[in-house]
Amino acid sequence: MKTIITEYNYWIYILLMMIGLYAMLGQKNLVRKIIGMSIFQTAIIVFYVSIGAKEHGTIPIVEHGHGASSQAINALHYVNPLPHVLMLTAIVVSVSTLGVALAIILGLHRRYKTLEEDEILEQI
């Protein structure tokens, strides 16, 4: 019980991921599949963002960074910026995947006049 409360961010990511996975593989409607894909990718972004976060951590900008009096920096006081920066790239990737998927869906709709997978399969 304690781990569920203190590490709730990880449970949220797992829940989101399962919702996304179900929608991607279990749904017949193509738009729902894409929404599932988007949720799945967002879940991973949540995961990465929460591994960088720290309790009572502040933004990772070091004061007196270039000053003559260089101080020791305690990493515990700062949020880890690297996973957050990685996620900027992952967001770009997921947006472009979404774009490609939507473009393909547009083509499918133009040709088959439906977005239900089984109806398209019938026409093929």
Partner: protein
């Protein structure tokens, strides 16, 4: 001159990237310049890849720091014997397939020439970048670049291509996300994304469950990407209905580069101590490879469509390579790495033939091949070489990698894997002799003349030079690769097999 040769690793990747931008700009004004620009960029890449391979052979491993940032912080390119070889394969297949694509693209998608070539060189960029990088997250980004371009390239194809491409989007994204999640777990445990850095930090953590989960997630992600049976569902339709020029590029390369990534993760990020000794999935995975080989071969036997038959053979070939690596001995891994090179060329050869058949007969059904030996002898001679290599008849290349794989299976005592290899050779023999029988003995039917495809039988003759030349080069290279297989193993591959195996 000195500085220039030091910069070859980055030139290799940057040239096609800039060419992609250039082509998309030029394409707005003049579509006829797209093809030459793409060819020039890929010639440049091939030159750089050959240069890099020479440097590696002379001086050993190259470390190239992007922007001069030292490794754990910046992104590093690492080129050793293994990826120097894979880079050369990618660059040469990319160049050969682009030369081939000229007429076929004109016929199949006249209004989309700039888009096609932009995506094409971008895909080559992605594949080269994935192979050359020494950074786990950089690999993910380039994996997605190559995946996104592949989705679009497949969607340019025939009627059913759109739905196949959509299925591939869903599965490909799933695979890439699993990989990313695994890398996230590694980052939590180690705080690093650089592969050689991970290699030194991880040994203390090999007992950790999180590292095991990371390894499993990464493996599943890569297996989805390489269509390892039973995760192969997306591949056959996507590769069958893609435009011919597209399938000539992706069918030889995508699965092979994924196999390369698997090797890189297994031996350069984790180590043989972890992969083969810390826990014992080795037997299970070899048996999965057996299932892939047998399943792929049987499904190929059931096909009536030439291109689809070839795609199921790719599924079987993936089983060869994964199984060979997980045999965990020197012969097995040597065979698997040699097979990356050989299979890329064999698959390219057969898909070039399929491309020519589609170009001439407008179909890729086995029935479309009736009587083709008389109509296009050179094409079909090249096809015969490719088929013999696929079956594994010496002196073609396919024989030697299969030989090493069988030696490895005997060393490891994996009789199931050996039986699967022999079974697959037998099935390949049946398959290709059936095709040869149809194309050689059966007379040209009325099938072509009835206007079903709109190509009368009389109009079918030998393909244009720009299609034949690449095909002849590839089929000769199959024999050359076979003759020099021993030299490739002693000069390149034996350095690529991890130490201690």
């Amino acid at each position: 001159m000195m500085i220039y040769s030091e910069q070859l690793p980055i030139l290799l990747v940057i040239l096609p990237l800039f060419a992609a931008i250039l082509i998309s700009v030029i394409g707005v004004f003049q579509t006829r310049y797209c093809y030459p620009v793409a060819v020039c960029a890929l010639i440049g890449s091939l030159y750089a890849a050959a240069g890099v391979l020479m440097q590696v052979l002379e001086n050993g491993v190259i470390h190239y720091q992007l922007g001069g940032w030292p490794p754990p912080f910046g992104i590093e390119y690492v080129i050793d014997h293994l990826n120097a070889m894979v880079l050369l394969i990618i660059a040469s297949v990319g160049l050969i397939a682009v030369i081939f694509s000229k007429e076929s693209v004109k016929q199949e998608m006249e209004d989309k020439i700039p888009q096609f070539y932009t995506l094409y060189v971008l895909l080559v960029t992605g594949l080269l970048g994935m192979t050359i990088t020494g950074d786990a997250f950089n690999l993910y980004v380039l994996l997605e670049i190559s995946a996104l371009t592949t989705y679009a390239l497949i969607a340019l194809g025939e009627d059913r291509a759109l739905l196949s491409s959509f299925v591939y989007v869903i599965m490909g994204t799933l695979g890439a996300c699993f990989y990313l999640l695994g890398v996230g777990h590694l980052y939590i445990m180690t705080g690093s994304l650089n592969m050689s850095d991970l290699l030194t930090i991880l040994p203390n953590l090999y007992t950790s469950d999180a590292v095991l989960v990371a390894f499993i997630l990464i493996m599943i992600g890569i297996w989805i990407k390489m269509a390892f049976f039973p995760l192969h569902g997306w591949l056959p339709n996507a590769y069958t209905y893609a435009p011919s020029a597209t399938s000539c590029l992706i069918a030889p390369l995508m699965t092979k580069v994924s196999v390369y990534i698997m090797i890189r993760i297994m031996f350069s990020t984790f180590s043989t101590d972890f992969v083969f000794k810390a826990y014992t999935a080795q037997n299970l995975i070899v048996w999965m490879a057996v299932a892939a080989i047998v399943g792929g071969s049987i499904l190929a036997l059931a096909q009536k469509d030439f291109k689809k038959m070839l795609t199921y053979l790719i599924v079987a070939e993936v089983g060869y390579m994964v199984g060979g690596i997980w045999l965990a001995n020197r012969h097995g891994i040597t065979g698997a790495i040699l097979h990356i090179a050989n299979d890329a060329m064999m698959t390219l050869c057969l898909f070039l033939v399929a491309g020519i058949i589609v170009y001439k007969t407008k179909g890729h059904h086995l029935d479309d091949m009736k009587g083709l030996y008389k109509k296009m002898p050179i094409t079909m001679a090249a096809f015969t070489v490719g088929a013999l290599s696929m079956i594994g008849v010496p002196p073609t290349a396919g024989f030697f990698s299969k030989w090493y794989l069988i030696l490895g299976a005997i060393d490891a005592g994996q009789w199931g894997f050996m039986a699967a290899l022999l079974f697959s050779s037998l099935v390949n023999a049946i398959l290709f002799f059936r095709v040869i029988e149809i194309a050689y003995f059966e007379p040209m039917s009325d099938h072509h003349a009835d206007g079903h495809h709109g190509v009368p039988a009389m109009a079918i003759d030998e393909a244009p030079f720009s299609m034949l030349a690449p095909l002849v080069i590839v089929s000769l290279s199959l024999i050359v690769l076979g003759i020099y297989a021993g030299d490739i193993v002693t000069n390149i591959i034996q350095f690529a097999v991890p130490i201690g195996i």
